[in-house]
Amino acid sequence: MRFFKFYLPISLAFAMAILGITSVFVPHHYSDNFQKETVVWFRVLGGVTMFIGAYSLLKVHFNRIRRQQKGWGYSALLYAFFITVITCAIVNYDTATGKSKGPLEARNMATKDGVNWIFNAIQRPASATQYSLLGFFICSAAYRTFRAKTVEAAVLLVAALIVMLGQVPLSATISGAIPWMSNWLLNWPNMAVKRAILFGICVGSVGTSLRVMFGIERSYMGGD
């Protein structure tokens, strides 16, 4: 059993990594086809496994409803919306013919049916607003805590103020030097830092890849 649980996955990972590297370096149509085919496989695999995440989330809320835990009403609402959208999706209403196409025929996401209505009335405003609230938090935090307490903090502060001002057109009406400085900070000192960090990330990523390849890094296998 140890072979199947331990050695087989490690050997497969090693073999696939070698094939992956080979497919980049060997300009033969076999290796091209292999790469093409494998990449299709992984997309199909993604399609087959699409229910895993949904299952876990729905299970948590199902248990909450069953045990009538605090806030179970919200979980019931979550289920109600889940079921409504899924039902509309399965019906797959076709506005052109006025008939249901069923779940086995192609669907254009711009079709104006129930899914589309819920998406535009609920999902779209809720997700966009959720994201936009960060604007309030970041400004509030800056207003109350952004202080030049040390020389380094002062450098950060000055850079931030120049970039903030330089990135709006009003700055150009004050002085053309402000947007220039802002772009300069972005394109030279900032670029240098991002490049140095990228070197670190890249070396780290290649190192981790090699560790996975040689079976040293095995976190993808979960626990023993």
Binding site: A13, A17, Y74, P125, A126, L133, A192, Y220
Partner: protein
């Protein structure tokens, strides 16, 4: 749900209903016909926007309501999109030779795939094999058989790292190194010292100093410490730039929502 929560939700719905009636009566919102799903959608979307924004005051029932509606519908929407994008347009059509050619499609997959003009090289096996791997992944949900899911993970991750090693080195490491190791004394165009050369020198110092700062195997003292301190200064400038851009980005998104409320719904902003 507490009684207060229900009161809050009911009160909010009532206020929104009154506002919307006033908007329709004053022709700021246009209700066409007996039932107008588009305008109703605008009204509901405005209510949801306000409900999510109410979180700024404090965590409350309205926000939770909107949040759970979002999660429920987004989950279903995600499944639907994957179903139609992957299963209906790719997986099911790839299996269609089974219907036309029967077992021949399984025994001679490559020949049949070519005859049926399918992009999958191994024909139906291009679906069967990853489907089996995908089903193996579901064993993650059961502790006893979870080890089976290691096999598809190993195949996926193994191939992923195999592709990543050369491509990562080529696209990130080498190209970035090449861009750093430029002539630091002459401009490539004029072959003379210029402002751009000075900036390239500054960038070079920045890259080196930042790398020194992140090098923890040597104690940051003396000359090494001084260089590392320069690295901190560069890092601070980069953080400042990131902060400035983040403020800009977040405020832009907020503008989008304010525009929705005051332009699309209340029709105050023209």
């Amino acid at each position: 749900m507490k009684k207060n929560d229900l009161l809050l939700i009911g009160g909010f719905a009532l206020v929104m209903a009154v506002i919307n009636i006033v908007l329709v009566a004053t022709h700021r919102l246009h209700w066409v016909g007996r039932f107008d799903p588009k305008t109703l959608g605008t009204m509901v979307a405005a209510a949801i926007t306000i409900a999510v924004m109410s979180q700024l005051y404090k965590d409350n029932a309205l926000f939770k309501l909107a949040e759970h509606m979002l999660v429920g519908s987004a989950l279903a929407y995600g499944l639907m999109v994957t179903w139609y994008a992957m299963w209906v347009t790719e997986i099911i059509p790839a299996l269609s030779p089974l219907k036309t050619y029967g077992w021949q499609a399984v025994v001679h997959p490559m020949k049949i795939a070519e005859a049926a003009n399918k992009p999958q090289l191994l024909g139906v096996w291009s679906i069967f094999l990853p489907a089996v791997l995908g089903l193996m992944m579901y064993t993650r949900l059961n502790k006893k058989y979870a080890w089976i899911s290691r096999i598809p993970f190993a195949i996926m991750i193994g191939f992923g790292v195999g592709l990543a090693i050369p491509n990562e080195i080529q696209a990130n490491l080498l190209k970035q190194l090449q861009a750093t190791m430029v002539d630091l004394w002459h401009d490539p165009m004029t072959h003379q010292y210029s402002w751009n050369v000075l900036f390239a020198q500054i960038a070079f110092v920045g890259v080196m100093a930042t790398l020194v700062y992140f090098f923890f195997s040597v104690e940051h003292k003396g000359a090494f410490g001084a260089v590392s301190r320069v690295g901190v200064w560069f890092l601070m400038i980069a953080f400042g730039a990131s902060f400035g851009y983040t403020v800009q980005g977040r405020l832009s998104l907020l503008l989008g929502r304010i525009n929705y409320l005051f332009h699309d719904w209340l029709a105050i902003v023209r």
